[in-house]
Structure formats: structure tokens, C-alpha cells
């Protein structure tokens, strides 16, 4: 039973590795503690509820929610096609889709600018339609979707591949047409993978900085999301920057708890084989 003290089983980990592991943990944990230590608690509430802060937080939550929804709508079909379909250059497409994971976000921003901007690839066509995307809230959502989509696709494609399509084959021989198979079999089976993928995409969207700044600019209430607000405040009011950073740390902790904290082997998940569950890819909120 879990309550009993487990006898020390052989682990195969040499002692000196523990020392390095402690250093590694400190590299991650210490900076977070430093933020908490630096917070000006007396003014914390006024600082995080100031008009620009609330406006930035609201914008961040709205745009991240929108980009997560967009990631789900576009990412599920892409993951399905990559995992199940068979077509030429599939491997190349898979690599290209993953590119934003390793691309510096500022480069992504420039790429988006020269796609949707006035001078961009689609700029002329969009202008004819009367659409101005660059430096608008739409641009923020697009930038976030660009960087977050691979997270959802990777975690979902993994779930689809390891699960295989045997359940789908059985459903088809039982008389279910493809749309019923998708709705009643595929979708419920990938739900855990989809949920963790969506949480990661949301987190990545929330932390987006480089692509947003390059492609959408920093206009209060329109494109200035929380990370941009923090970066600006850092120069004029470091205390406010720290307070807002703590808000994002809290959000990140919640996200990690949601994505990784699911009880393993719980009955709630309803997974017999456990093959469909995925280890989510690490979330990244990197700044150029």
C-alpha cells in the first residue's frame, strides 16, 4: 500500500548525480523564488489591478483563449492527417509544422509580417478585402497561434500514433461511417491528449512576446499583452513588473498542474490500455 514505507529498491543512480540534479533544480527554482522575494507586497494589489495591467491581462486572456480555440480547430485535423493520412512529402510537412518550436519567435514575427503585412505575400489581397491584420488584435492571435500550434499538434499526433487505428477499424466494420467514427470514437479517445495539448498551447500563447511585438506592436488595449506590459514596466516601474511577473508565474503553475497533475491510472480517464495518454511536450515562453 502507498501508506507503507517502501523499502529502498535498487535505483542504479550514482551518488554524485544527485549533486548535479540539485544544481539543476536550483537553476529552475531559484529565479522563481527570487521573484517572490522581490515582490513589494504592500503595493501588490494596486499594481496588479492598475488600469494598464488589467487591460493587458484581459487582452492576454482573450487572445490566448482565441488562439487556443484556433489551435484546436486547425490542429486536430492537421494532427489526424499527419498521423493517419498517407501522402507525398508527409515527413517534410511534419518537420515544417514543428519549426515554430525551435524558431526564435522574433523571426516568426518577421515571417508573419511579410505574409500578412501591408507589403506581405497576402497583404495586397487582404487590402482589397479591406482587411488590415498587422498591428491589430487579430495579429496578436495569429502570432500566438503560429507559435502554439506545434505544441498541440505534437501532443495529439503522439496520442494518435501510439493509439493506432484499431478502434476506428472495428467501429467501421460495425457500420459506422467516417463522421460517426470521428465523433464517437476518435475524438473521445484523443480527449486526454487534446486537453493537455490545449493547455500547453494556451500557456505558450500567454507567454508569447517576440512574434507579437514584431508583428502586432505594443498598443495598449489592442496588442499590448501581459508579457509586453511587463517588459515596458520594467524600465519605468520595476516593482510593477515584478508583481505582474508573479501573476504569470501563478498562471504557469496552474497550467503545469493541469497538464501534468492528472492522476495516473485513474478511473476517471477511462483508459484501459493507457496507450492514448501522452506526455505533453514542454511549454516554452521564450523571449528573443
Amino acid at each position: 500500500m502507498r501508506g507503507m514505507k517502501a523499502r529502498a529498491a535498487y535505483t542504479g543512480v550514482p551518488g554524485w548525480l544527485y549533486a548535479l540534479a540539485v544544481v539543476a533544480a536550483l537553476v529552475v527554482v531559484l529565479p522563481l523564488l527570487a521573484i517572490v522575494a522581490r515582490v513589494n507586497w504592500a503595493n501588490f494589489l494596486p499594481m496588479v489591478t492598475s488600469e494598464p495591467a488589467l487591460s493587458a491581462l484581459g487582452l492576454s486572456l482573450r487572445t490566448s483563449a482565441a488562439s487556443t480555440a484556433l489551435c484546436i480547430v486547425l490542429g486536430v485535423p492537421l494532427a489526424l492527417v499527419l498521423a493517419r493520412g498517407r501522402f507525398p512529402l508527409q515527413g517534410l510537412l511534419r518537420s515544417l509544422v514543428l519549426l515554430p518550436l525551435v524558431l526564435p519567435p522574433v523571426v516568426g514575427g518577421i515571417a508573419l509580417l511579410y505574409t500578412f503585412g501591408r507589403q506581405g505575400l497576402l497583404g495586397g489581397a487582404l487590402e482589397v478585402l479591406g482587411l488590415q491584420i498587422a498591428f491589430s488584435t487579430t495579429a496578436v492571435v495569429l502570432a500566438q497561434t503560429f507559435v502554439a500550434l506545434p505544441f498541440l499538434v505534437v501532443s495529439l499526433e503522439g496520442a494518435l500514433r501510439t493509439g493506432g487505428s484499431r478502434y476506428e477499424a472495428v467501429a467501421a466494420t460495425l457500420g459506422a461511417p467516417p463522421r460517426v467514427v470521428f465523433r464517437r470514437v476518435t475524438l473521445p479517445l484523443i480527449l486526454p491528449g487534446l486537453a493537455s495539448g490545449a493547455v500547453l498551447a494556451f500557456a505558450r500563447s500567454l507567454g508569447e512576446f517576440g512574434a507579437t511585438l514584431t508583428f502586432a506592436g505594443s498598443l495598449q488595449g489592442v496588442t499590448r499583452t501581459l508579457p509586453l506590459e511587463i517588459y515596458l514596466q520594467r524600465e519605468t516601474d520595476p516593482d510593477a513588473a515584478v508583481a505582474l511577473s508573479l501573476v504569470l508565474v501563478a498562471v504557469a503553475v496552474a497550467v503545469v498542474a493541469l497538464a501534468y497533475g492528472r492522476p495516473a491510472g485513474g478511473r476517471t480517464a477511462g483508459q484501459v490500455s493507457g496507450k492514448r495518454t501522452t506526455a505533453p511536450a514542454p511549454a516554452g515562453g521564450n523571449v528573443p
Binding site: A171, L174, A176, P177, G270
Partner: protein, 352 residues
């Protein structure tokens, strides 16, 4: 009401033609990689053969040749696949799993549920209706899977080693259940177990290397096998060769005299034929004990293995069953040269 099938898959060396009569169950047997799964997958529509055609009750399932390209998708075929693993949908209860087929066919929920309850009762699993697959044992899950397959009202039921994943306690129960529900139903069952063929099938087809090497009523195939695989299933020694007036001339100069099953073969017509005899009819001697009318072959022992309460001696591609005491008396060990002796009267000889 007949199922006819002919298909070729070049990449897998698969070329099979077969028919299943109405209310008939055909057992397909064969070694691993013989093409049994390819057969079921192309019938179910999960795999597209390079060429061929199949018809079920007058409906074309596929017709693929250079001029025609007819292909019915799996969900319109009426061929339900029951696999080795139950593959119950983990997010649905047993009842919802069984109701899946009817509901996919457009049956309203309450009707589908009552039909599912009927089939759950039929497989003695009515009390499991509200359980999730994770809460079922292997045998229970496979029973629910049988109910799910039958509730979909298949025109042709495809069973892919349905008992192979079950433990020795659940398998007999499910075998009896399958015997009951397969009666009067058109079905193809892929199996490794000769007991399944005996209990469940009317006919047997032996698949080897992507081809059907032997087919016929189960009893005939097991009593007078014409392929070494079928002989192995029946537990018989099988020596192919050409027919002589008194028996078989096999490779390596081995002559086997036996009882000619077909009177017309007495002349010794050099037709291909086989000599078949049970391991229990073979005696093992250390020296050549030639007494007419006996067959005696010098052989080198390859293996000794327990076989029921006897010892099975494998040598020279043949098997002999002797008592442990006899084995100990003779001091048998692998590598030893001995003589297998079998009375001509115990050997059946017939053409193939």
C-alpha cells in the same frame, strides 16, 4: 446467400479464392504469415487488394480489375470483425458498446439499447451492462465484444482468433457460446486451434504462403490431410511422395508401405500421394527390427518432449509417442540414431 471471394495482393504473395455457403462457418487455418489477416482485412474492407472481386448475398463488395474499380467502404459491407482482443471502446459502457452498431445504422437510441440488452443477455453478460471495459475481465470483455458484433447484424461474421487471448478457464466458455451463436450463421473464423475448427466450423481451409493448399469438410481434412500443416493439426505423421503399388516412395529413398485408401491406386501410377500415420503407431528400436509387413526407418533424434503422459520422440521429420519407461529403457537422447518402426496396416496412403 453465398459469399464468394477472390483476391490477390502482389506485395504479400497473396492469392486466394474461396466461397462460404449460407449458414456455413468456414475455419481458416495456417501458419503465421500465411495471409490469414490479409484475407480478413480485405473482406472487411480495411485493406484494398490489387485485384479480385467479392460478392455477399448478391451484393458486390469489391470488383477490382484493370477495367473496373468498384469498392464498398467497410461500413456498408455488413462484415463485422471480431478480433483477438475485444477492442471495446474504453469510454463507453458495455451496453453503449453493444448498441454502437445499431446506433451507427441509424436506429433510435432506446431501440438500439433494447437490442443491445437482448444480445448482452444472449452472451450471459446482462449484469455487466453498466460496466466500463476497464472493469471487465478478459473473458467478460470478449463476451461483450461478441454481443457487439452480433448486435450489428452482420451478413458475414469475421472472427480473427477470438479465443487466442483468453486464459484456459475463459476459452471453453466462450467457445461454447460461439458454437451457439454461430449456428445458422455465415462466418469465417481464423484459428490456430484444431478444437475451434472441430467445434465451430463446417469446413476448413488451410492457408499457406498466401495460397489455399487444402480445403474441405473439417472431418475429412483432419482424417485425411493433404497438407503437412493439416496433418500437424490432426497430430499425424505426414510423408509426401509418389505412389507405388504398395505405398509411397518418398525423398531420401524412403519407401513406406501402407493401406491404399483408394482402390484405383493399386497399380502404382506415380501420382503424388502421401503416407499418413499417427505417432502412437510408431515404435522405437535401437537396432533394425525388420519384420514384414513393417516399415523401418533409421532416424536421428532431434527432440524429446512431454506429450500428455507419453514422450514424443521427434526424428527425421517424424514423431513417435512412447511411454517414459520405454524412453528410459532405450536411453534416448537427442542426436542418437534409432529405428522408427510402423506396421504397414497403420499407414494410410492416398493421392493428393
Amino acid at each position: 446467400m453465398t459469399f464468394s471471394f477472390q483476391a490477390a495482393v502482389a506485395g504479400r504473395g497473396f492469392d486466394v479464392a474461396l466461397t462460404v455457403g449460407p449458414e456455413e462457418t468456414l475455419a481458416v487455418m495456417g501458419p503465421n504469415g500465411a495471409g490469414k489477416s490479409t484475407l480478413l482485412a480485405s473482406i472487411a474492407g480495411l485493406l484494398k487488394p490489387d485485384s479480385g472481386r467479392a460478392e455477399l448475398d448478391g451484393r458486390t463488395l469489391f470488383h477490382l480489375d484493370p477495367k473496373q474499380h468498384a469498392w464498398v467502404p467497410p461500413h456498408h459491407r455488413g462484415t463485422v470483425l471480431l478480433a483477438q482482443e475485444p477492442l471495446l471502446f474504453p469510454h463507453l459502457t458495455a451496453l453503449e458498446n453493444v448498441a454502437f452498431g445499431p446506433r451507427s445504422g441509424g436506429t433510435p437510441k432506446h431501440l438500439a439499447n433494447s437490442r443491445a440488452m437482448h444480445w448482452l443477455a444472449e452472451v450471459e453478460a446482462a449484469d455487466l451492462a453498466d460496466r466500463r471495459p476497464a472493469e471487465l475481465s478478459g473473458g467478460q470483455a470478449q463476451r461483450v465484444a461478441v454481443a457487439r458484433a452480433l448486435a450489428a447484424d452482420p451478413a458475414l461474421l469475421l472472427l480473427d482468433e477470438p479465443l487466442a487471448a483468453l486464459d484456459i478457464h475463459s476459452a471453453p466458455l466462450l467457445r461454447r457460446l460461439l458454437k451457439r451463436v454461430l449456428a445458422g450463421r455465415q462466418a469465417i473464423i481464423v484459428t490456430h486451434d484444431v478444437l475451434d475448427a472441430l467445434m465451430l466450423a463446417d469446413r476448413v481451409a488451410v492457408l499457406e504462403g498466401g495460397r489455399i493448399v487444402e480445403a474441405g469438410p473439417t472431418r475429412t481434412v483432419l482424417e485425411r490431410p493433404r497438407s503437412s500443416f493439416a496433418a500437424g493439426l490432426a497430430g499425424l505423421n505426414f510423408v509426401p511422395g509418389t505412389m507405388t503399388g504398395t505405398g509411397i516412395r518418398a525423398g531420401r529413398g524412403r519407401e513406406i508401405s501402407g493401406h491404399l485408401e483408394e482402390p484405383g491406386d493399386a497399380g502404382g501410377n506415380n501420382r503424388p500421394g502421401v503416407a499418413v500415420f499417427p505417432p502412437s503407431a510408431v515404435s522405437v528400436f535401437l537396432t533394425d527390427a525388420h519384420g514384414s509387413p513393417r516399415n523401418s526407418f533409421p532416424v536421428s533424434i532431434t527432440d524429446l518432449e512431454p506429450h500428455g503422459d507419453l514422450i514424443r520422440v521427434r526424428a527425421g521429420g517424424l514423431a513417435a509417442d512412447i511411454t517414459p519407461a520405454a524412453s528410459a529403457d532405450l536411453g534416448l537422447v537427442p542426436g542418437m540414431t534409432v529405428h522408427f518402426v510402423v506396421k504397414a496396416a497403420a499407414v494410410s496412403v492416398y493421392g493428393t
